[in-house]
Amino acid sequence: MKEVTIGIGGAAGDGLDKAGDALAKTAARLGLYLYAYNSYQSVIRGGHIWLRLRVAEEKVYSHGDHLNVLMALNQDSIERHAREVEPGGAVVFNADKLHCDAVLLPDGVVPVPLPVTELAKAAGKLQPVMQNTIALGAVLFLLGLDFEMAGGVLRDTFLYKGEAIVDQNVRLARAGYDYARQAFVPLDYSWNFSRSRRLFVTGNEAISLGAVAAGCKFYSAYPMTPASAILHWMASHGERCGVVVKQCEDELAVVNMAVGAGHAGVRAMCGTSGGGFALMTEAIGQAGMMEVPVVIVEVQRGGPSTGIPTKTEQGDLNQVFGASQGDYPRVILAPADVTDSFWTTVEAFNLAEKYQLPVIIISDLLLSEHPETVEADAFSHDVPIERGELVTEWKGQGPFKRYAFTPSGISPRALPGTEGAVYVAATDEHDEEGILISDVFTSAPVRRKIMEKRMKKLEALRKELAPPKLEGPREAEVTLIGWGSTRGVIREAVAQLAAEGIPSNQLHFKVLFPFHAEEALAILKTSKRTVSVEANQTGQFARHLRAETGFTVDHQILKYDGEPFEPQHIVHQVKAILDGRARSLDVTADEAREMAYHYIRSHLGEDVRPGQIAQSDGDGLAEPVWLVEIVSRDGGEKRGELRIGVETGSTYTWHPAVS
């Protein structure tokens, strides 16, 4: 398969997102497939932002494990990522500001220094971020992408700033393109542009679109990364789509307003991340108790506590399972990809109303924030809308029993305002009519039967929801088990393993509660060797699987450094498992370099970078260490040495070089 991965590195504020977006949209409009991932930090200016765009002629399911072209917007990006560029690739940078030491460049990688000041002259007075557009033009040429298409994208991107800015950007891109054509040979890519119409869309956008298509009329949220993009989308489209969008004072208000709106009869949704969800839990139990339909989106980021706000993790599973005190029915769905995020949201609203309960959609930063191409018909306005048992009037049928005990556990629901069906919904335990049994009228048997009534709803739910299915060859050495957003990357790992002669398959879980224990167990029992793959530290899903089925997975592949899985992470570990090699928690050389960067930027300033890295026995320390040479950025001369513990990861004393 023909593909290329472009990495754009810079600091927050460098205007990296616009350049990346223009490149991505150009490729997408040409009919290529994309998957992008932006590794960023919780800062408005500065830090290190690393955007990878994987472009291919066929559908790709992760940002992959390659780097072919580096577009560096600052010196850090050259030093950190030039070494990762594969032979045949290029490093594109502003030669007036940045330099690329030959030692940093792998063999077969072309440096593409751009005389930006000179090239920009034609375009008049510039904002510094516009330099990116020159680099964009050069990259378009190197990759053999169509310039006219990029011009159109730039036009759409900057039109809101006026014609002058559009023209300026197009001229700059042209200057970069023409300069590259004159000074460099294109890289070895020739594409078949299908020019098929596809969407370039994130998980959060898909959730938002799914919600409005399903008739969501109320969305509440408190700003919290990585769920905020849903709030932004809803806020900017609420009027057109007839949605009341409410930013609230806290997540307590967020979820309780959504419950109030759901109770009054509109399709209501709210969104947050782990910390906000923690505040919401009592009210999710409230929705369970009062049998109110409501959809709650939990977009996970790295926890616990404030954690790593802009990094991905699947660490909130225990929290979502444990939300609220007591036993109550609810649904927990983990969409697998962007397209699935749309349809899962539609399904969530239908389940919430049909079964009169809270439905939790658990996503994560990777899924919610990464954009990828999906087919133009992946989404539709024509979605099923099933509202369940709604009573529109109640006359002459005896007293209205909002919580009538029925064989299905589902009771007739009336909205406030309905003639003849007046009732009180209470979070205190109550009887069929809603009369409290918590105070004067205590009743043990009513308590027992209403608990059973509510939980009974799970039986039909489990039947309605799709059970997990094995993907890939039935006969396999390894069954990889995952949930939520890892489906795509596991799929690619399965393909890579197959290419290396290791047959594997995937058992992916989207429905986390109610759980299809029997169906899962039937598959797992026939698996030769099971490996769960999760982006958390303790294997929360594997534990859930064991609790529900009694089945213990053979091995676990766990990642919790905040960066998403790449296929090779899984492939390497599967091979290690098959070889009987134990998983090592030692710091790798690459990690030692990143740790050195962290030390340099927090203690030593801007004029040095890591140089050679070697392992030593520890030199009197209690563990072996990585000796990281610290060199000057301009000349490369040694400035000192850092020792980083191979086992503990501790950064030991900084030793300046003696001059």
């Binding site: 956008e205 009027e239 806290d250 419950v259 009054a264 009210a283 007046v422």
Partner: protein, 293 residues
Amino acid sequence: MATVIELPLDVFQGLAEPDWCPGCGDFGVLKAVKMAASKLGIQPKDLLLVSGIGCSSNLPGFMHAYGVHSLHGRAVAVASGAKLANHDLNVVITGGDGDGYGIGIGHFIHAMRRNLDLTYVVMNNQIYGLTTGQASPTTMKTMRTKSTPRGNVELPVNPIALALVSGATYVARGFSGEPNHMADLIAGGIAHRGFALVDVFSPCVTYNKLNTYPWFKQRVYKLEALPGYDPADAESALQKSFEWGDKIPLGLFFKDEQPTYEDSEPALKQGPLVRQKLGLDRKLFESLVDELI
């Protein structure tokens, strides 16, 4: 304006009888809420009572009207969501001082600055009753309670002043010893377009032996009886809100006409959300999708 047809009070007779202690101030509030609804001709089906948790929050269960007996401190948030979903409903929040001025004070303040068209009746007994007598956010300083055996060291919240500075557009105080007067204040609050606070002295006869019926009866007077008092004047309202001691004012402190939140919400221009069509037509959906290309 359409003619208001008063309803008989027994239309609002609930399924369950109140289980409050004999003599509880909340009986007066229950009666006043019924009288207010009856006076305004609001059918039980068009009234949504939202409460939190506490003795007074049991009120919706004792009245025939739609009700949500929600979580402790969350009544205002639940009511806000319900009102935005169906603004044809008359939404009245009924709760206590612990619920509204303690655990739920954040929602209280924000709902007022939004000027949602809600009426909030707070049965303020200056004590936690249901949990058997701990200090509440409005317990007077130095008062001994189960949780403050050496006397309360915190200043009480001043709900009237708080409401005035938070943007409430109808601020009143009633007293359970004067149910007819209170009913007029609640009716005024429901009729008012915007956020209405009716703080009510509703004595707890079991756990608050300081702020009793006689204690209030000796002190309260009505602002209406004060010559020249003008509820349109925010400054004098604020001044009066600090009056506490030998004389304590009841009545309407402040009233102002301002656009409600619902007025400025574009999605509500077509009428209540609950009556709007679900889903999107193809043309609109495709225009949304086009933004992603």
